[in-house]
Amino acid sequence: MTDTQTVIAGARSDCKANVYAMIDQLFTGFFELHGDQITSDDPAIVAGLAKLADQPIAVIATQKGNNLEDRLATHFGSPEPAGYRKALRVMRLAEKLNFPIITLVNTPGAYPGADAEAAGQGQMIAKNISEMLQLKVPILTLIVGEAGSGGALALACSDQIWMFENSMYSVLSPEGFASIMWKDAHLADKAAELMRLTPDWLLKQHAIHRIIPEKMLTDGSLKTALTSAIGELCQQDNATRLAKRAAFFRKF
């Protein structure tokens, strides 16, 4: 396997599929909030309030699930418009309460279903991107496994974007890319090489801020790193932080 293939296999490994386990490792007292308060509760988005080093924080994550039943319910971690609406609802709550936000992203993309499309999937993503860029509270995104397309960007318009060593971030899933470019999803491996979706390359392009070795999750140092990063972001005044966030995306 080439490096890219190793990264993809790691990003999609089963051990990253259950985000509840990671939430428990990183935060204490996670209180989950359900539903978008308008239509439904999308299980592909897990959102709520918790504490990080005894300080309050809002957590928004994508969930794939560890068994077939969960994976069908979450469409393998692909949110529907209701999921993005739930994410936005919790972001607005964080803004109101002045809690920083951490998003944990592991999604191949927004769910490509007929109902999702009819419910305004693209419009909802557009709204989340727009609103997230304007939130005054600090936002840190940790890309856990896969991060594909606008469906991932809708949770990643943040002050800091971190990626695990074995994670990927791309304009589309390699399968989708191959399907568009060569009308053959089976050429995903070839696509992946061309797509430059590995953390190393993305860091060189300044598309992300930091690469997190996998062992930092188990040895507890990730929690420490998150605590000090959020602490630093909180020290900046809102205007400075928002200007930096804008400048990060403006340079592309």
Binding site: E117, Q121, V171, L172
Partner: protein
């Protein structure tokens, strides 16, 4: 006898003869609407290039679309060109081809225009430039459109047409969505209006960002407006979808579109809207 003559007169010509005759007709004289599949003599589409049967607006270059809207236009940032940030193979050749087809350096035309007497910042995406896909160069041009409009206190009008993200530019393409959205936000915070006009097709990352962030969203008849491609959805849910699944008429029913405006009426409808948006406000003197 008489019967025999009739048979001769109306008998069908041989296939080779038909093919020979057909080859003598210049291509493009007889056209088919990609939406309703009606066939018609090309001049029937008129100067606005609209299907005489169903009103669908044909995909035309941005420069041609501009001529249908206004004569007064000052172009901005015409020299912006992609630098192939992901070093994608064979990409530059594709760009050159698109450039010569559209007379644009990348897939959008931007500048300051007059609609009637109203000055506006105008962007027109070009569906014939690699499907109007969003890359670094047209993304930058659109961003500057909003930034200049904010500086000059102008409303923005963008006519969108795009297959979505430019695959060849990878993450750089995805980042355009956030970059342009930021410029749209800043423009809005300055109290300025943004009108988008959905043309055929508007999909993917363009739908999931600036095309859907306008204050007023207009659309051309029968245009396709969606996020995920129909083929991908059908493969996902294993079911055929109706042809008009992502039509703007359908979007209008679902509350995504404010008004569907035939191409030949767009200037007039924009002018009416601008006359309200640009009217002197209550309590304002001169």
């Amino acid at each position: 006898m008489l019967f025999g003559e009739h048979v001769k007169r109306f008998s069908s010509r041989s296939v080779p003869k038909l093919k020979h005759d057909q080859a003598k007709v210049p291509s493009g004289i007889w056209q088919e609407c990609p939406h309703c599949h009606a066939g018609f003599y090309f001049k029937k589409a008129g100067q606005y290039r609209v299907c005489p049967e169903c009103g669908y607006g044909f995909r035309v270059t941005a420069r041609r679309r501009l001529k249908m809207l206004t004569k007064h236009f000052e172009e901005w940032d015409s020299d912006l060109e992609t630098r192939n940030p992901t070093e994608f193979p064979d990409y530059q050749r594709k760009i050159k081809k698109a450039q010569s087809a559209t007379h644009l350096k990348d897939g959008v035309l931007t500048g300051k225009a007059l609609i009637d007497d109203y000055p506006v910042a105008l962007g027109i995406m070009d569906p014939l430039f690699i499907m109007g896909s969003l890359g670094t160069a047209n993304g930058e041009r659109l961003t500057r459109l909003f930034e200049k409009a904010t500086e000059q206190q102008l409303p923005v009008i963008v006519l969108t047409a795009s297959g979505g993200a430019r695959m060849q530019e990878g993450i750089y393409s995805l980042m355009q969505m956030a970059k342009i959205s930021q410029a749209v936000n800043d423009h809005g915070k300055a109290g300025l209006a943004y009108i988008s006009v959905i043309m055929d097709p508007t999909t993917g990352g363009v739908t999931a960002s600036f095309a859907s962030q306008a204050d007023v969203t207009l659309a051309e008849p029968k245009a396709l407006y969606g996020f995920t491609g129909k083929r991908v959805i059908e493969q996902t849910i294993n079911k055929q979808l109706p042809n008009d699944f992502q039509s703007v008429e359908n979007g209008y029913q679902r509350g995504l579109i404010d008004e569907i405006v035939p191409r030949e009426q767009l200037a007039q409808r924009l002018s009416q809207l601008l006359s309200i948006l640009e009217a002197k406000k209550w309590g304002e003197t001169q």
